[in-house]
Structure formats: structure tokens, C-alpha cells
Symmetry: none
Subunit: 458 residues, 2 copies
């Protein structure tokens, strides 16, 4: 048998073709018209796991989008590693900003462009290929492996909060590897210690029973856009603090060690601003940019709409106005409690002359934090040092991966984030791409990490 | 010679046939495919004026839709009255809500149903018929008459702001009668003393160069929706006053006489709320509902948008956020000055960490107010008292008709609103109609009014 390195090398072009095939499936989990495409993506993953030599592969229904499970459990004395990823994607709008159609993958300059390329199809395919290479080179795996891929990550994994605790035995493990995420830079690895949680609301304001003429009625009753704006504006202080009563109550303060881990990461304000394309940064006073992005909670309006949006003007006072609001949460905030505080705030600040309703948008997540010296992190750190020749940073992610909190709460196992996306890859935006160099490095890294974890005695 | 009453009576059925012929022309000014129909309507009006005995009739080009001019100027010592109306119509959508095709007039229950029936073809044909009746019954007119009909009222008369001042001599007059508008009720006349002006802006906020992930970046820079909301919220006080510096500076206070005129009009708050479908009214403190609707300026957001508007949520911080803002203006506010004050306010309140731009939306109008005891109103009041057996209300309109302000500024002549539409006639909506009783009453009213104005010495 050849080495896993040789195996990976020999199958490089087939693996790329397979990734492209996978990326052609428009598995947008938030849009009901793509429900069947999410299912097709699950079937594709199931087939691919079986071809890799994984056993007991099943597409399981959750009540929402399905999950895919598979296992290889033939080394009794070794730890059991659960590998996680997701095969659903974000929507594609604004579609006119894409250079190529989002579900017709384009390979250009050693990158593959498509919705889902980095988040998360490219990343989640990596461990499947690595396991195939190990099985075909070493004849067996160094650890017991379970795969658990979901199809609802981009809508906040609404069914997993029930599915995972009710499948505790199937999913039980010593450690989770999450193939959803990324590295610090092309030449710089990082261990991701934390994720923020999330909760979201839709805010709907209704005034008149239909749109009315702004000349005839303007000035006599409250425009629902004005009411909406008034409520939203009440949620922040001018310097960027969140003004919802009780919002910060359960926030765990950053320890000195945590602050110094974050401070050790090189940061250029100029580069950060350039990356965003803004002249100035802004946010909660008293915290550095990374602290604000990773370890402090937020309240952001993700969308707002009401009335006329076309050319010129239409002199209308609309009947309704709407906003989508989400909060990123940090330990030990509870998403349900925060949603309740928000609703109480909205009720308190809603003008009485309009009808205001606030409704949960499904998809909450608990914040997540793994100790920096967890054995899983120690193994990953060793792989990174070998592959990159560098110590990884101890960073966090500002985003939310609900499943990490759910898995920790249900299985008692921590998840090590082990994925290879990079920050400029337009995740959740037009022209998403994934570097083929990351795709290949990731495959090696997974082989090395699984081999190392074979030495771990949990 | 018979009296004008006899003449009108004898030609009643021909006049209805002519109205129906006029209504068959789909002269929708906002739709380029109907450009030629607007022209056909102008030709129809031109022909009808000539048959009525009007001289020097011309279809004049404006750079946009044409206008029609005609005159009868043979009573040297008498005042000159310019009669205004428009032969263009609103679009017809939603077409499926019409009981009969909008340009195939249907006469039912003493009403004629068609697009433009009340607004404004029925109303603008009235003075032509009245003048024909006077010429054929009295051999001459009691005053000098000029007709000035336009084909672009429904798109805000874009070319008239230039056309009217550059045709001052042609249009010069002592008084204007506007045949575009209506009465308070079937048994209740009103004199419309005022119109509000308008100016409008689009407000655009840009933060990051593209949409970004609210997890990755949330908390580090300013969300453009937050900046937009902050700017808009700064424009009103919580109790409904407009907080733009200088906004009220040129507002003419309501006199006691004006307030008592408005107070004399029956008003039911319950009916007003029921009409809108709201539980409570809201607006600038210290003013009644009609005062706020007619005689106080407003600042209303007609549309707002940014970020995600679909189902569920998309955890994005959008690159841009936008709003359409318009102000209704009252004497002596100047639309250009108010737009400048708004722009200055926006510049002052725009957070420095985002890019904000405010741009004019074309289509301003000056506010308009005619003294209630203007000789033209005194004559109209006398006609109303004779025809309805009632004193007219002294009301205003909250909407904007740009041409009244343009005519006043260019010709120094006030316009008396003298038209016979009623509020339930579905103007700008499906199943527009005009009462044949109003059509006939209007013809009498114009004969009576022109005869009365013959006694006026301006």
C-alpha cells in the first residue's frame, strides 16, 4: 500500500471534480423552494461516505432538513472522534454581483468559485477524503470515527437542539472535530477557542390598514417607518453600547489570560479597515477590535424594509415596516433569555399608536468556549506546527455554530475547530470561493491529526 | 336666443357622447407607450375648443407632453380668466380590479365609469361646454377667457416650470379657474384655499464595501442600517415635531380666521381613525387633525430598505442602507431651501464612520394659498350658495399640485379651484367614475361663475 500522501496526490483531480459536482447542488436551506436540493446534497454526501469505506451510512430525518450519519468503529481501545460539517448553503442574493452563476462552479487561478465553496462544502469534503486515503493506505483508521453532517447550519440548526440529545448513543464520542471554519491566514494557523451564540427576532410595525397618500394623510398619524426607526434607535447608545435592560448581566468578563491570548495576535487597524472598506471602526468602548468581534455581544439589524424602494419617489405612507434583528452572544448569555429581554425592550419602547409585534426567528445558538489546553487542541496545535512551521494563534470566531453548544451540552464532548477556509473567501457574500491549496492542505492535516489522536487516551 | 340653461339642456345627450369619446383615448402620461395617445387627447381638446367658438387654438410642445391653448378676448374692459385642466390620466393597474375596461366608458346608474372620468376629463370638459353655451345664448362671453390644458399633470408637470414663465404674455390673466379637483360632498360645496408643496430626497448610507458576515464583523464597525436609523430618528422629536434646524422658520402661522375656518368643518375623530384603520392619531402637538393635514408641514419616510428582507434571517451586515424622504410644505416654505436644510441636517447628524449622501428626487412643488376673501372666491362662494343652498366650507388639500404655485409665481394670478369631483369616485384607483349630476351641475356653475366675474373689476 502507498502512503496516504501518495494516495491523496494520485486522486487530486478526481477530488476536485467531486467537489465541483457537490457545489452544483443549490442546497440553500433558508429557501423552501430549495428543500429538495438540500435533500439531494444529503444523498450526495451519503453516497460519498459509502465510497470512502464508511459504514452504517444513513440519511436521517430531523423534522426539518436531514442529517447524514456514518461510522467506522473498529479500533476498540482508541478514542472515538465525531467529525462534523454541513452541506447546506447561504442564499445567493444579490445575484447580480456574482461574476459566475453561484451554482456553476468556476475554477480560476487555483480557486473554485461557487456558493458553499468554503462554507462549508469544500471544508466538509476534506475529512471524508482524508479518511478514504487513510483506509486505502493504512488499511484501517488510527481512531474510531463517526461522521455527522447537517443540512440546516445556515438557518441555525433548528432541529438539532432536539435531534442530538435524542440520539446521544449514536453520536457519543470523546472529541468532536468541526470541519466548519477556517485558519488565520495562508501561512498562519490558529486554534479557534470560542464561538458567539445568536438569537434573532423579526420586528413588524403596522399603522394604517393600507398604504395611504402622504399628502392627504401625512401629519395626522404615525408613519410605521418612523415608529420602527424609533424602536431600533433606542437599542444602542450613541457610543455603541446596547441599551436593552439586563443585556450584559450574564456576560463573563475576559480574564487576563484571555485578553493576552487575543493581544498576542498581530492586528493592523489599517488592514482591518481596508478589508472592510471603511474609513473608521466603531463599537463598544473599552475593548479592542478583536475583543469586540469575538468576546463581546452585539445587536445588529440585518435587514430593514417598508414602503417604496423604486426609482424616483412614491408619495406614500406605507401600511407596514419591518426589521430583522440578531444578537451575537458570549458566555454565559442564554439566547432565550436575551430574546425575552429584547421583546420586553420593544414592548416598552413601542409607540402606542401603532401595532408592534416581535417574533422569534428560529435558529438560536448558545455561545461556546473550549479550554485552550484541551488535549484535542494540543494535538491540533502539533499538526499545525508541523504543517505551517508556526505556533497557532489562540483566537475565537465571532460567528455562531449552534451545533458546538448543542453537542457540548448533549454529549459532554468539546469540539476542536479544524477547517481551512480563509477570511477573504467571500463567505455569505457574492463570489464565494475556496483555495484549492487549502483543499489539499486540509486533506493532509486531517490525516495527520487523526493519526496523532490515535495516541490520545481520553 | 335661448338662455344658457336651455342650451345646456338641449345638448345634454351630445355632451355625454362627447365625454365618452374623450374618455376612450388612453392618455396615460407616465407610460411611454401612450405618448401618442396623450397627443391624440390634445388634438381632441383642440378640436373641441374650436367647435365651441374658441379662437387661436394651438397644441404647443413643451419638450414633454403637449399643452393646448385657446382664447376668446373680445370684451376689453372685462377681466381675463385663464381656465386650467389636464387631459392626461393615471395608469390603470391593477387592471383586474376594474369591472369594465378602463378606456371603454360604461354609463351605469347616472355615472360614467372610465379612467380619467373625474380626474380630469369630466371636470376639464365642463368649462368648454359652459363657454359654448354662453356664446350660443348670450352671443358673447361676460369675461375674456383663455384655456390652458396640460398633458403631464399626473407625472408632476415636469416641463411646465419652464414653459409657463417663458409664455407669460400668452397666459397673462387676472384670475385662474382650476377645473382639477372637487367638492366636499354631493350636497356640500367647499372652496379649496390651499395646497401643500413638496420636496423629496433619497438618503444613501454606505459602510463596508460589500455585505459582510454579522458574526465575523459584528461589533467592530458601524452597520449602515444603524447609521440610517440614527439620522432618520434625529429628524423628529418623540412628540412629532420636525427637528431639522430652520425647518419651521418660514412657516406662516395660522391666523385665528384660518383656524376658525378649519374648525367650522365637521370632523369625527372616530370616522377619521376608522378610515385609516388606526387606534390612535399622532402628530405635531397643538394642532387639530385637519390643521396637521392641510396647514402644517411634514417630513415622512416614504420608503426604507437595506439588508435581508426574505424569510427567516440572513446574518449579514449589509453594505448599504437607503431611505426616501419627502416633506409636505406650507406657505412660505421654499422647496429648494427645505431640501438644503435637510441635506445640512443629514451632514450634521451622519456618523463619521460611514459614507452618507443625500440627493434630490425630481418633482418639487411650492405650497399654495389663496386668500379666502379673494374676489374669485367671493364669486365662487356666491355660485355655490345659489346652486347648493349652502355656505361652502373653507378647506385645503394636503396634497401638492405643482401648477398652482408655478402659475402664481409666473403670472401673479391666483387660482380658484372650481371643479366637481367627489371623494368616493376612485380617482387614481380601479373603477374611477364621475357623476353625470356633477357633470351637469358643473356646466351650470361655470356659466354662473363667468357671468358673476363679468362684474368684477380687478
Amino acid at each position: 500500500m502507498a502512503s496516504w500522501e501518495t494516495y491523496l496526490n494520485e486522486h487530486k483531480s478526481r477530488y476536485l471534480d467531486e467537489l465541483i459536482e457537490f457545489l452544483r447542488i443549490p442546497s440553500i436551506s433558508s429557501q423552501p423552494e430549495h428543500e429538495n436540493d438540500v435533500k439531494r446534497a444529503a444523498e450526495w454526501v451519503s453516497g460519498r461516505l459509502q465510497r470512502a469505506g464508511i459504514e452504517a451510512v444513513q440519511v436521517l430525518s430531523t423534522g426539518g432538513h436531514p442529517v447524514v450519519y456514518g461510522e467506522w468503529l473498529h479500533v476498540d481501545s482508541k478514542p472515538t472522534i465525531l467529525i462534523y460539517g454541513h452541506f447546506d448553503t447561504q442564499p445567493v442574493d444579490p445575484i447580480d454581483l456574482w461574476s459566475d452563476p453561484p451554482f456553476e462552479p468556476a475554477v480560476k487561478e487555483n480557486r473554485v468559485y461557487a456558493r458553499g465553496a468554503a462554507d462549508d462544502k469544500g471544508n466538509m469534503l476534506i475529512p471524508i477524503l482524508a479518511v478514504e486515503a487513510l483506509l486505502n493506505s493504512q488499511g484501517k483508521l488510527p481512531v474510531n470515527v463517526k461522521f455527522f453532517f447537517e443540512g440546516q447550519e445556515e438557518i441555525g440548526s433548528p432541529q438539532l437542539a432536539e435531534f442530538i440529545p435524542s440520539h446521544r448513543d449514536l453520536l457519543s464520542c470523546d472529541l468532536i472535530l468541526s470541519a466548519d471554519g477556517g485558519q488565520w491566514g495562508e501561512d498562519q494557523p490558529a486554534l479557534n477557542l470560542g464561538l458567539r451564540g445568536i438569537c434573532a427576532l423579526q420586528l413588524d410595525v403596522q399603522a394604517a390598514k393600507s398604504d395611504v397618500h402622504s399628502g392627504t394623510y401625512g401629519g395626522t398619524f404615525m408613519n410605521p417607518i418612523h415608529a420602527l426607526v424609533q424602536i431600533i434607535e433606542s437599542m444602542h447608545s450613541p457610543d455603541g453600547k446596547i441599551m436593552v435592560a439586563g443585556f450584559y448581566e450574564d456576560v463573563r468578563s475576559l480574564s487576563e489570560a484571555e485578553r493576552s491570548h487575543i493581544e498576542a495576535i498581530p492586528y493592523s487597524e489599517d488592514d482591518y479597515k481596508k478589508g472592510l472598506g471603511v474609513n473608521e471602526l466603531f463599537g463598544e468602548p473599552g475593548y479592542s477590535t478583536y475583543e469586540r468581534a469575538w468576546a463581546r455581544p452585539t445587536l445588529e439589524v440585518n435587514g430593514i424594509w417598508g414602503g417604496y424602494q423604486g426609482q424616483g419617489n412614491k408619495t406614500v405612507i406605507p401600511s407596514t415596516a419591518h426589521a430583522k434583528i440578531s444578537c451575537r452572544l458570549v458566555p454565559d448569555q442564554d439566547p432565550d433569555k436575551i430574546a425575552q429581554l429584547l421583546i420586553a425592550h420593544i414592548e416598552k419602547h413601542a409607540p402606542k399608536c401603532v401595532n408592534v409585534s416581535a417574533s422569534h426567528i428560529p435558529g438560536t445558538a448558545y455561545p461556546y468556549l473550549i479550554p485552550h489546553d484541551h488535549p484535542g487542541n494540543q494535538a491540533a496545535r502539533a499538526v499545525h506546527k508541523e504543517l505551517y512551521g508556526k505556533e497557532p494563534y489562540y483566537a475565537r470566531m465571532g460567528g455562531s455554530i449552534p451545533v458546538c453548544g448543542i453537542l457540548l451540552r448533549a454529549l459532554g464532548a468539546y469540539a476542536v475547530n479544524f477547517a481551512f477556509g480563509l477570511k477573504d473567501e467571500n463567505v455569505h457574500a457574492p463570489n464565494e470561493f475556496f483555495r484549492l491549496s487549502s483543499f489539499e492542505r486540509g486533506q493532509k492535516a486531517y490525516c495527520m491529526l487523526l493519526n496523532r489522536l490515535g495516541d490520545w487516551e481520553p
